[in-house]
């Protein structure tokens, strides 16, 4: 169970003045749930992940992850693959685990499942952007995370590559039972992936709408059902992607 309650999160902007990024943000996720966080750019989505992932501890509020032994159970996938260019594909994945034979085997299995068996000993610089992201995905799952944080991991990829990676993500997620917090600004992507979508307001970010999804998997962003839901949602809340709902009373505030 993931329980996030951030009262205030500020960071200094370029001029050094404090910028209020998040305020009064409440978010919960059940074990194994796939939650997408959608919001306008600059609403503090990345900041939220950094706080939850422990990269940023300067915050008023709390993040609780029950059921996890420690913070070691958190996987993180960034906007860029962020692989170590001096380590081979296999070593990049092994970097975040211990050197046990079990971990070795798991790393090889994951990479093989993602179609990377032929490039285990290649350096990331020789791989395409899509392959690098697959390595980063394998690195995130090799630690068998209780919680996986993903910060727009599939941006700047062509559509088929991104769809393939999403399918791989869903497959690994279903196999691992991890809770996923997936940040994106792309509503169709969120509709294709999530069990539930949390919409954030413009900065300072807070949850303005929660939308549980009951669409069957597998789904893709261009499926008819996803498209229909997308259209219906935007008809109901035309300003949703700017962080505004048309019915203020829907805001969940307990």
């Amino acid at each position: 169970m993931l329980d996030i309650a951030i009262d205030r999160k500020t960071y200094p902007d370029r001029a050094g003045a404090p910028h209020l990024a998040l305020a009064g943000l409440r978010l919960e996720a059940a074990p194994g749930e796939f939650v997408c966080v959608v919001g306008p750019s600059g609403c503090g989505k990345s900041t939220l992940l950094n706080v939850v992932g422990g990269l940023d501890r300067d915050v008023e509020g709390r993040v609780r992850l029950t059921g996890a032994d420690s913070a070691h159970d958190i996987g993180f996938m960034f906007q860029e693959p962020r692989l170590m260019p001096w380590l081979t594909v296999l070593d990049n994945v092994l970097l975040v685990t211990d050197a046990s034979p079990t971990a070795q085997r798991r790393a090889r299995e994951l990479l093989t499942a993602m179609g990377l068996a032929d490039v285990l000993d290649a350096y990331p610089g020789r791989l395409s952007g899509g392959m690098q992201r697959r390595v980063a995905l394998a690195r995130a799952f090799v630690i068998e995370p209780k919680l996986l944080l993903m910060d727009e991991p599939f941006v700047s990829l062509d559509v088929p590559t991104a769809n393939r990676l999403r399918a791989m993500l869903v497959e690994q997620w279903q196999r691992s039972g991890a809770t996923v917090l997936f940040v994106t600004h792309d509503l169709r992507e969120a509709l294709a992936l999530a069990d539930r979508i949390c919409f954030l307001s413009a900065a300072p970010g807070r949850v303005v709408l929660e939308l549980p999804l009951a669409l069957a998997r597998p789904r893709a962003p261009d499926d008819a059902a996803v498209q229909a839901l997308h259209a219906e949602l935007l008809a109901r809340h035309p300003e949703l992607l700017a962080g505004l709902t048309s019915e203020p009373h829907e805001i969940q505030d307990e």
Partner: protein, 273 residues
């Protein structure tokens, strides 16, 4: 003042060696060129010796005979070994301390501000002054000699490594942080590899500088080593002896560069090709 020092830094840009290595094509063809240039050098030398027919420029044959004689009497190997040992210790000391200080100064801005003035001072003190002061303060012994050499080299290592530490990719460090990697693994596999080009640049320029300073140190205050021998030959006006030691010394430098530094660098930057 700080910017001025950084800009006028005489050491090679870290990116240069790697790029050069990539361009190096057809090693066999280049091997011939290298050999030809060596032969041309010897021919010119021989020609000069003929033309001037002077005591002050003995022909190559005389010098090589001298190398053989000095080697047979074990004088040359002994003095060379002593000098090499001093170079190795001073080099190791300068690299270790310089890298540690450079990393710390690149990491903590306060420390950088605190030590920057000392660094400028260290960069600009003439080697001779450090050597004399070390001998005066610590006595005419090997420890003083090595400290003097290391002190001359440390500031340039610091400046180069500090540049590297400032250029460390925060996004990769975040990966280490996000996955809660142990400190030692973070340092060895995420942080240090980013400094490799800078450390290699410091090592290359360091070796050539340290060779030269060690000879001066030996000349001024040691009773063995190549520098000591050169001083003796100078007083005896023994040019063949000076050239014999110089040649062997230069050959050792070339071998260390070709057999240790270059393969090491190639290994460490394999991922770039």
């Amino acid at each position: 003042m700080k910017a001025g020092v950084d800009d006028s830094a005489p050491w090679p840009l870290p990116a240069a060696p790697g790029r050069r290595a990539m361009k190096r094509r057809g090693p066999q063809g280049e091997g011939w060129l290298r050999a030809a240039s060596l032969v041309a050098f010897l021919l010119l030398w021989q020609l000069g010796a003929w033309l001037f027919a002077s005591q002050t420029l003995p022909p190559p044959v005389t010098v090589f005979a001298r190398i053989a004689a000095e080697t047979a009497s074990l004088a040359l190997p002994t003095h060379l070994a002593v000098t090499l040992a001093r170079v190795a210790v001073a080099f190791g000391l300068a690299m270790a301390l310089g890298a540690a200080i450079g990393i710390a100064m690149g990491r903590w801005r306060r420390l950088d501000a605190l030590l920057d003035g000392w660094l400028v001072l260290g960069l600009n003190i003439p080697a001779l002054v450090t050597i004399i002061l070390c001998y005066v303060w610590f006595g005419l012994n090997d420890a003083a000699a090595i400290v003097a050499v290391a002190l001359n080299k440390i500031p340039t290592v610091v400046v180069t490594v500090r540049e590297g530490a400032r250029a460390v990719d925060a996004r990769l460090m975040q990966v280490a942080h996000a996955y809660r990697l142990p400190r030692l693994r973070t340092f060895a596999r995420v942080y240090l590899p980013q400094l490799v080009p800078y450390l290699m640049a410091a090592a290359r320029s360091g070796l050539s500088l340290i060779w030269k300073i060690v000879l001066v140190v030996e000349l001024l205050g040691r009773s063995n080593g190549v520098g000591f021998q050169l001083n003796m030959f100078f007083q005896l006006f023994d040019i063949a002896g000076i050239l014999a030691y110089t040649l062997v010394f230069a050959a050792v430098v070339l071998v260390v560069e070709a057999a240790v530094l270059r393969p090491l660098e190639r290994r460490l930057t394999r991922w770039r090709s």
